[in-house]
Every structure is written in structure tokens, then in C-alpha cells.
């Protein structure tokens, strides 16, 4: 398993490590090893059923396990986002009214927002609503949070989708180019440039692009506002700069990781054997290297897409783009907790499920991961 480097946002979930982990099955609520002491009849039937299923369909069982694990993780995250906030000091009512507020006013606003009920009750009703897409009403604007999010989520996904569409082929291509010219000039140039690109903050890249393309040359639009009545081409030209920023931010990471993954395969013994047999370069890559490189490269892509989801936050603020990220940042500055919680949960959900997708794709692409020792 390749080390993704600590600068990357995504969690490097190691497929092999998790598959052998006894806790992963427990967390997902699947009785992988039923405890014979507790309720023997029930657990034995469930156990044998599950065991037979794992034996016949190891792939399906593993995928089910991963799905269960992700749902469990998401549940834990929701508890953390909600419960963690309760545990932290600081009260919205006092912040909202200022230090000099009378106790009566504070009490009123707490009752108004439902803060006087115990937090377990509020958590359960919040979670119940969240599952159905109802995230309550915003404290600041008194609008429905779910409605706002459904409109903005589409915008954010639109942005992330096009950024992925451009950056993925480009990163894989450049990564292969770097491998092809390993330790020669193109590789060195790519290495230095990508090292620099990793160090650039998103907002700096964004403003640099605005300065050049929107202000100096006037060929792009800023701010990147989109609204419902826009045609698709208008939308595309509006998001050109934000997409370019996102691409530049993710590209360097993705490319470096792709290069490492392919290099790992290309330096293995069987590729050397193929070379010594006198096979053509194309045949070596197509028949020997590519099938083995697919799994790590897919993993790299999925991890970086997860990173893209978060990168959207800053880029949206820079380009005044009406998406989820901007909504969340605005809510954080006015301490509008229902909005912050909802956005946090949705961002975490995307992140967790993209990481899960990376795991599952790695298992599908690499049969060795299906049979943990």
C-alpha cells in the first residue's frame, strides 16, 4: 500500500488492514463471529447464514461489510457533530444577545430555539429529520435549511464534477509521462512544479487566476454567479475559473500519487522479466503493467475526489459561488448552528462514501484483497 502523504485530506483507508480487522465487522453490526454464549439459537443461525454467504460470495460479503461500516461511521460522525457541540462550552443564546443580556431574554431565546430540551431528545429528532432531508430551520434567516441545501448542493456538485472531469485524465496522463521519462528532464520538471503546486493555498491560486484572466485579459467572468435561468453554456463559462483553480489544487497531488503507484508496478520483477523477454514497450504496459496498476490508480483518484469535496469550500468563497461551502462558512461566522451541523454532516457523508468507494474499487480491481489471510 502506497503512502499517500500526510498533506492529503483523505483518510488513507488501507483495504487489507481493515478487512482483517475484527472490529470492522462488529461496527457494521454484522455478526461475523457470533458469540455463542449470548442467545445461542439466534446467533448460530445468523452466523452460519452469514458465514455461508461469505464463503459463496466473498466479494458481495466484503462490499456489504464496507457499506455497513460506512453507515456506522456516518452515524458516529453525526453523533460527534451534534454531541460534540453540546459538550463544548459556549451557548448560542448568550453569544447572540451579548454579555449584557438579561437572564430572562436568554431564557426566552433558548426556549424559542428549543435549546431547553435535553440534548438526547434534540439529537434524535434532528437525526430523524436529517434522514428524511429535513434539517430544521436556520436560526439566522428562519428559512428551511433543507431547501437551501438542495439548491446549493447541486451547484457544488456541478463544480466538483467538472473539476474531476478535467483533472483525472490530466493527472493520470502526466503521471504516466513522468514514469516514462523517469529521472530525466520532464520528470524532474514535473516533480519540482508539482511540489510547488502542493504548497500553494487555494485562495492564492484563485485570486491569481482572477487577476490574470478576469481582470487583465477579461476573458473570464468574476464573480462566478450562477442562477436558475442560465443556459448550460453560460454556466460553463461562469465556472471556468473556479474549475481551473480546483484542478490546479488537486492535480499535483493526484499526479504525484499516480506516478508513485505506476512506478511501483513498473519496477516489479515481472515487468523486468517481460522486458528481458524482449517484449515491446506497448505490450508490457498493456498486458503486464496496466492490470496491476489499475487498482492503485483508481484508489488515488477516489481519494482525491474526496479531497475535492472539501476544496470546494474555499474556492466557493473566493469566487462568490452560491454553493454549499459558502453557505457553511457564512453560517459559521454568525454561529447558525442548524446550518453548520447540516452542512458538516453532508460534507462528511460525501467524504466517507468516496473513501468507501475507493476501498471497494480497490477490492474489485485487486482479487488478492478479497481473501484476507
Amino acid at each position: 500500500m502506497m503512502e499517500s502523504g500526510p498533506l492529503t485530506g483523505p483518510v488513507p483507508t488501507d483495504g487489507t488492514a481493515d478487512a482483517t480487522h475484527p472490529r470492522s465487522a462488529e461496527l457494521s453490526g454484522v455478526p461475523a463471529k457470533p458469540n455463542p454464549a449470548a442467545n445461542p439459537a439466534n446467533s448460530e443461525i445468523g452466523g452460519t447464514l452469514w458465514r455461508r454467504f461469505t464463503f459463496r460470495r466473498p466479494l458481495a460479503a466484503l462490499i456489504l461489510q464496507r457499506l455497513g461500516l460506512s453507515v456506522g461511521l456516518l452515524f458516529a460522525v453525526s453523533l460527534m457533530i451534534f454531541g460534540g457541540i453540546e459538550a463544548l462550552p459556549g451557548d448560542f443564546a448568550t453569544t447572540y444577545l451579548g454579555q449584557s443580556a438579561t437572564p430572562q431574554a436568554v431564557e426566552n431565546i433558548r426556549k424559542d430555539l428549543g435549546l431547553d430540551k435535553p440534548w438526547t431528545e434534540r439529537y434524535l429528532s434532528w437525526l430523524g429529520g436529517a434522514v428524511q432531508g429535513d434539517f430544521g430551520t436556520s436560526w439566522a434567516s428562519k428559512n428551511s435549511v433543507g431547501e437551501q441545501i438542495s439548491r446549493r448542493l447541486g451547484n457544488s456538485l456541478f463544480l466538483a464534477f467538472f473539476a474531476a472531469l478535467v483533472s483525472v485524465p490530466l493527472a493520470v496522463g502526466l503521471g504516466m509521462l513522468a514514469v516514462q521519462f523517469r529521472n530525466r528532464l520532464p520528470d524532474k520538471i514535473i516533480n519540482v512544479v508539482s511540489l510547488a503546486a502542493i504548497s500553494l493555498p487555494e485562495f492564492f491560486v484563485g485570486y491569481l487566476l482572477i487577476m490574470f484572466f478576469a481582470v487583465q485579459y477579461g476573458i473570464a467572468t468574476f464573480p462566478a454567479t450562477v442562477y436558475d435561468s442560465m443556459s448550460v453554456t453560460e454556466r460553463l463559462s461562469a465556472i471556468a475559473l473556479p474549475v481551473a483553480t480546483l484542478v490546479l489544487v488537486v492535480l499535483a497531488h493526484m499526479m504525484r500519487m499516480t506516478r508513485a503507484a505506476i512506478l511501483n508496478v513498473m519496477s516489479s520483477a515481472y515487468v523486468e522479466t517481460a522486458e528481458l523477454k524482449g517484449l515491446s514497450m506497448f505490450r508490457i504496459i498493456a498486458r503486464h503493467a496496466a492490470p496491476n496498476a489499475v487498482a492503485p490508480v483508481i484508489n488515488v483518484i477516489a481519494l482525491n475526489l474526496a479531497y475535492l469535496v472539501v476544496g470546494v469550500v474555499v474556492v466557493e468563497v473566493v469566487f462568490v459561488y452560491p454553493g454549499m461551502g459558502q453557505y457553511m462558512v457564512d453560517a459559521v461566522t454568525v454561529r447558525d448552528m442548524p446550518v453548520v451541523q447540516a452542512c458538516g454532516l453532508i460534507f462528511a457523508a460525501f467524504y466517507i462514501f468516496l473513501n468507501m468507494a475507493a476501498d471497494i474499487l480497490a477490492i474489485i480491481a485487486n482479487p488478492r484483497l478479497r481473501h484476507p489471510r
Binding site: 459559521v332 462528511a348 467524504y351
Partner: protein
């Protein structure tokens, strides 16, 4: 250590970091104007009295940049040191004690890492009051999850070595094993990691300040300066780009040094001998 063996790129990095630290330490001496003094018109172009021009309130940009180096580096450094101490202590404890403690720490760490760092910080900072030490603490705790993961992996490798076993058989306590046996043997890979975390802290702090959640005005800080001056971009005023470039340069310099350190530790096993 042979000075000639340091590659050119690493020298650039070292020089950049040295300049930044010099600015941070001697800020009041070398800055031409005060941090919060309004000295001229709004957004004056570079040149003349003001080497880099003035900002959105008419403060000297160069002076604020120099004072900003102080805030940015200090906060990022404090967060890195704290996150490192926390992450290493917990990860070594997990690796040495093992069993339930290890499971508890590791699962909790997985849970923390399941939420994207920036999103987590936004959620937490929305609740907490805005103080500098709270900001440092939040950054440190979030960052320590990464340190924990690497620290545990490295420490597990060392914890099964013969000399650790010998120490256990001698009857040494866990604290001795952590600080006297494992720590000295894991220091060099973790040092490179420390540099990476520092670069990340600078970027993270700047991002938070840019979003208005980091260091609060009127204190000068590079991320916050970008935020202050961002409205000038539309009029073709590049004041926001200068602090942005400063952040990027410092991060690149740190990364160049880290790149060299990593290559050195990976190519020379036991290369610490001459350090």
C-alpha cells in the same frame, strides 16, 4: 554533516525559512511603519515611501507583512509542536501498551479522521469563543490525528525490536520504554514529518484566517491580509496577492527542506550518525 551534500533546492528552502524567521523575530526593528498605523491613502501602488503599497485601510503593506510573519509563524509553530507532542505521546502509548488502549485510541482516531479537517474545524470554531489559544488548540488536536497514525506505525516497528524486549525484561516501565527506547529510534523519520505538518499548519491557518475564522483583526496575519484586500482584485489592485505569495513561498521553502530530509532518511539507513 557535510554541508556540500545539501542539494541546491534545500539551500533555497533554508534561506527562505531563515528570512521569514528573521522578519518574525526582529519585526519591530525592520518594519518601516507600525502594524496598525494608517499612514497613507487606500491601496496606493507599490513604490515611493511604501515599498509594497498600502492596504484597504491605508496601512503600509510591507510592515504588515513583516508583523504578519510573526503571528503566522508563531501560531503555526505552536500548533505543530502541540500536535506533535500530543500525537506522539498518544501513538507511542498505544503502540507500547497495546490491547484495549490501542484499540480505543485507534478507533477514535479513525473516527476523527473520517471528518474532513477543514469541515471539522469549521464546525468546532462555530461553537467556541474566538481566542488565539483556542485556535491553536483546535488546529493542534485536528492535526495530531495524522501524527498519531504515522507515529503508531513507526513505533510498532520499533516496539518489536530486541532492545525493547530487553528493556521490558529488565523491568522498565512504559514511560521509560516510550522516552528512552522508542523515541530516540523514531526521531529521524518523525522529524521530516514534523516539517510537513508545519507546512500544513501554515496553509491551514491561512485558510482559516482567510475564511474569517482564524486570527482576528486588527492583528496582522497573512491569511487575514488576503481577506482584507480581496475586494481590490476586481479593480486590478494586487495587494491581496502579496501576502498570498508570502504564504506560498514559505510553504514551498518548508517543503523543499522536508523533501531533502525525507530523501536523506530513506536513502541512508541510520544516517543520523553524522547529524
Amino acid at each position: 554533516m557535510n554541508l556540500r551534500s545539501i542539494p541546491f533546492s534545500a539551500w533555497i528552502g533554508i534561506a527562505g525559512i531563515a528570512i521569514a524567521i528573521f522578519c518574525a523575530v526582529f519585526a519591530p526593528v525592520i518594519a518601516p511603519f507600525g502594524e496598525r498605523d494608517v499612514v497613507g491613502d487606500i491601496w496606493l501602488p507599490a513604490g515611493g515611501d511604501f515599498l509594497l503599497g498600502t492596504d484597504n485601510l491605508g496601512r503600509d503593506l510591507l510592515s504588515r507583512l513583516i508583523y504578519g510573519a510573526r503571528t503566522t509563524i508563531m501560531v503555526a509553530l505552536a500548533a505543530t509542536v502541540l500536535s506533535f507532542s500530543l500525537g506522539m505521546l498518544l501513538s507511542f502509548t498505544a503502540a507500547v501498551v497495546g490491547g484495549f488502549t490501542d484499540q480505543l485510541f485507534s478507533r477514535f482516531n479513525d473516527l476523527m479522521m473520517a471528518i474532513p479537517t477543514l469541515i471539522f474545524a469549521l464546525v468546532v470554531l462555530a461553537v467556541l469563543p474566538q481566542h488565539l489559544w483556542i485556535l491553536i488548540l483546535v488546529m493542534a488536536v485536528l492535526d495530531s490525528t495524522r501524527v498519531f497514525r504515522i507515529g503508531r506505525a513507526v513505533a510498532l516497528d520499533v516496539a518489536v525490536m530486541e532492545f525493547v524486549e530487553a528493556a521490558r525484561l529488565r523491568g522498565e516501565g512504559s514511560l521509560w520504554i516510550i522516552f528512552r527506547e522508542i523515541l530516540p529510534n523514531t526521531l529521524s523519520p518523525l522529524l521530516a514529518e514534523c516539517g510537513l505538518r508545519f507546512a500544513f499548519s501554515i496553509l491551514f491557518l491561512s485558510t482559516l484566517s482567510f475564511l474569517g475564522l482564524g486570527i482576528q483583526p486588527p492583528a496582522a496575519d497573512w491569511g487575514g491580509m488576503v481577506k482584507d484586500n480581496k475586494d481590490g482584485i476586481i479593480f486590478g489592485i494586487s495587494a491581496a496577492l502579496i501576502p498570498g505569495a508570502a504564504i506560498a513561498t514559505l510553504a514551498i521553502c518548508v517543503n523543499l527542506v522536508v523533501d531533502w530530509l525525507m530523501k536523506r532518511t530513506s536513502s541512508l539507513k541510520g544516517g543520523r550518525g553524522d547529524a
